[in-house]
């Protein structure tokens, strides 16, 4: 569903920027294994990419290397075609939004000061900053007049997190990095914040990279999900639908956990599926008239709406027949869901209330219709069918880590890589398109780069370094790199020119 859209968008009017990690490695001194090993990864412009994986797998390290909060030991980071590996890190970070758990707000600064920090560093004038602060507060659904002058300690956890997002968006950066942003808030607030992030993203179309350890969150938010194993080995990098339907290996399966089918329901929202019409009535009507209407419509149950159109009761014909008059009492146990709720939540509401349908509320909680268990089932089958389609997933694979296993034997390395690639593709015939062997041009080209030259990883980096500074679409940068990969001579020349003052 959404992935094709995103790819198309990336060519059109997205404010986000594409990110390319080119054989990025982080090796900490004194450790035998790299924290991130030779990771090559493409992050399409304007999409939300979720990094998930067990603790210590290198997902956060990878995230922090994008804005170079952690400097990569090796490899290149290319944003919108610009190699940013050697630019001033502070300047780079001012152009990339960064959100951490609990917002990371500065307690000694007011909300306005916190949000205005980056614009201030970029030299905006005061009026422009103040206007921007108000704009952002409204974007994250906080009233500027109320919250502008508050201090972080006067805010709830969820509000702090919103300010954190607002601060990250202050200078309108094309990229937003989020490190377990919703880890520190309660489940209800978390859901609300997630929905809000999706709304904001629908409006702004940033490139968002988000680290989480919660797979459900990844499924809910992500256009793409990268599942990492130790050493930032990408196990699978694909759309949530296809990861759920076709996990590439056992690790991914275990990570998804049980109930993959149920999790698929979180991909669909109530407003995306068909709702059934229901017979409605108002309090005070006579039960006989309502029963007559029900029989005419061939339905069993009637929804009683209050004066503002909100569902307050859901009555069967039998219940109606025992009544003198329809009361205006509100039943607290109605299976009510919002149009923005996921199908998973809708199903949950039905199960809790032991009904085969749930009442859907739209804007201002006004009743819009019914969603039935059958609709939900259809959505499951439709989702599974859709996931069988051909993959156009972005590239994500590791090369550098494989030579780490036995550094002295080149042929073995090559074999190991091939095996690695093979396990990914063999996993499932239908998944063949998913992880690495993608069908689109975009995806196949860099894969070739990465597979050919194992011993030349470093040279590839040099090749990129020379492209530093000149602005080119990232495809071009890639082509550069593959050219250098293939031609040893050209590459040496490049290195030489670079060494010359």
């Amino acid at each position: 569903m959404s992935e094709t859209q995103t790819i198309q968008n990336s060519a059109e009017n997205v404010s986000g920027a594409s990110i390319l990690l080119d054989q990025v490695t982080k090796q900490y001194p004194g450790q035998t294994k790299p924290a991130v090993g030779g990771l090559t990864m493409e992050i399409p412009a304007g999409s939300i990419v979720m990094f998930v994986g067990p603790s210590g797998c290198g997902k956060t390290t990878t995230l922090k290397m994008i804005n170079r909060l952690i400097e990569p030991t090796d490899g290149a980071i290319v944003i919108n075609g610009d190699n940013v590996t050697d630019m001033n890190g502070d300047k780079l970070r001012r152009q990339i939004g960064y959100v951490i758990q609990a917002g990371g707000l500065f307690p000694h600064m007011s909300v306005a000061a916190n949000i205005g920090l980056v614009p201030k560093m970029l030299g905006w004038d005061k009026d422009r900053i103040a206007a921007r602060v108000d704009e952002l507060l409204e974007l994250v659904s906080l009233d500027p007049t109320v919250y502008r002058n508050r201090y972080p300690k006067e805010l709830s956890g969820g509000q702090q997190q919103r300010i954190g997002v607002a601060r990250a968006l202050a200078a309108d950066p094309p990229i937003l990095l989020m490190d377990e942003p919703f880890g520190a808030v309660d489940p209800i607030t978390r859901q609300r914040l997630q929905n809000e992030l999706l709304n904001i993203q629908a409006e702004l179309q940033k490139t968002i990279v988000c680290v989480t350890h919660d797979f459900d969150e990844a499924v809910k938010l992500g256009d793409w999900i990268a599942i990492f194993n130790e050493g930032a080995q990408i196990e699978q990098y694909d759309s949530p639908e296809r990861i759920l339907a076709n996990p590439s290996n056992e690790f991914v399966e275990n990570f998804i956990g049980s109930g993959a089918g149920l999790k698929q329901l979180t991909l669909n929202r109530v407003h995306e599926v068909e709702q059934q019409k229901a017979v409605t009535a108002a309090p005070g009507e006579s039960p006989e008239a309502v029963i007559a209407r029900l029989q005419e419509a061939g339905q069993q149950n009637v929804v009683i709406l209050d004066s503002r159109g909100r569902a307050i009761q859901w009555l069967s014909q039998r219940q109606l027949s025992r009544m003198q008059v329809i009361s205006d009492a509100a039943d607290p146990n109605l299976p009510l869901v919002n149009e923005q709720s996921t199908l998973n939540e809708a199903l949950d509401a039905m199960l809790v209330a032991s009904t085969s349908a749930a009442l859907v509320a739209g804007r201002r909680d006004a009743f819009t219709g019914l969603i039935t268990v059958n609709t939900v089932m259809d959505a499951i089958s439709a989702g599974q069918a859709a996931a069988q389609g051909d993959g156009d997933a972005p590239v994500g694979l590791n090369t550098g880590s494989i030579p780490q296993i036995s550094d002295d034997d080149a042929p073995v390395n090559a074999a190991a890589t091939d095996r690695h690639a093979a396990t990914n593709t063999e996993g499932d015939a239908a998944a063949a398109g998913s992880t690495v062997a993608a069908t689109s041009e975009n995806a196949s080209r860099p894969r070739d780069d990465a597979r050919e030259p194992h011993a030349e990883n470093h040279d590839t980096v040099n090749g990129h370094t020379t492209t530093n500074g000149h602005r080119a679409p990232w495809d071009e940068t890639r082509r550069d790199s593959s050219a250098t990969d293939r031609g040893d001579v050209g590459e040496e020349n490049l290195t030489e020119t670079r060494d010359r003052p």
Binding site: L92, G104, V118, M121, L177
Partner: protein, 227 residues
């Protein structure tokens, strides 16, 4: 009350007479005392903050700074003054050195503790939005550590008001002059009164300075981190 061994006074009236007769001198000495202490405190704060900024990132250096400040406080101030007379002679300079030295120690200790107590996440988010190391220190870490540093300054202020009195031994400025001159001619006319004026004056100055620092702390601590 029995007449004391040190002159006939002790009933307060003679002290009062002394104050009335030489209040201009007392005021001047108090002012000089306060001025010496405040200026040395400012200097000490700057020194301590710079030193703490240099050491706080390293565990060893922080421990070293704490050790030095703990040991430094065990040096008797009188002894240090005596030692400083040899290279610097009598006058203001050795007094300033001694007072600043002792004032720096508690502030340094608190500054190191304060800077180290800032959550790593806050520093990370500062770096993450593109603040340089220096900017992070100046606009995030120091303001957040300021209440703790200020507590150190208050401790220092109390301590060095007394030390400044001792520093008068080198003929430096301040109320210490009354104490030393009184002690040196105990039994003589107005000797006891002189000592009392010196001691009471020092106590009053300490209270005034502390109040000033409380006001300063209200004015300079962000509402967001006030307890």
């Amino acid at each position: 009350m029995q007449p004391s061994a040190y002159g006939e006074g002790g009933d307060g009236t003679r002290v009062w007479d002394f104050v009335r007769d030489s209040y201009q001198q007392i005021l001047f000495a108090s002012w000089q005392h306060l001025s010496l202490v405040v200026q040395c405190l400012v200097l000490a704060t700057v020194l301590a903050v710079v030193l703490s900024a240099l050491v706080y990132r390293s565990k060893t250096a922080s421990a070293l700074a704490n050790g030095v400040s703990a040991m430094g406080l065990t040096i008797p101030s009188f002894a240090l003054i005596g030692l400083l007379i040899a290279p610097f002679g009598f006058g203001v300079l050795p007094a300033v050195i001694v007072v600043t030295f002792f004032a720096t120690l508690p502030i340094l200790r608190n500054a190191v503790v304060g800077l180290n107590s800032i959550p790593a996440s806050v520093v990370e988010s500062a770096r993450g939005i593109g603040m340089s190391r220096f900017r992070t220190l100046a606009t995030v870490e120091l303001p957040m550590a300021w209440p703790i540093i200020l507590a150190g300054i208050r401790v220092s202020a109390q301590m060095v008001i007394g030390i400044a009195a001792v520093a008068a031994y080198t003929l430096g400025p301040g109320l210490g002059g009354f104490i030393f001159s009184g002690l040196s001619r105990l039994g003589g006319a107005n000797a006891f009164e002189s000592v009392v004026v010196g001691v009471v004056g020092v106590i009053l100055l300490a209270i005034i300075l502390d109040l000033l620092l409380v006001v300063l702390s209200r004015l300079t601590t962000s509402r967001g981190i006030r307890v």
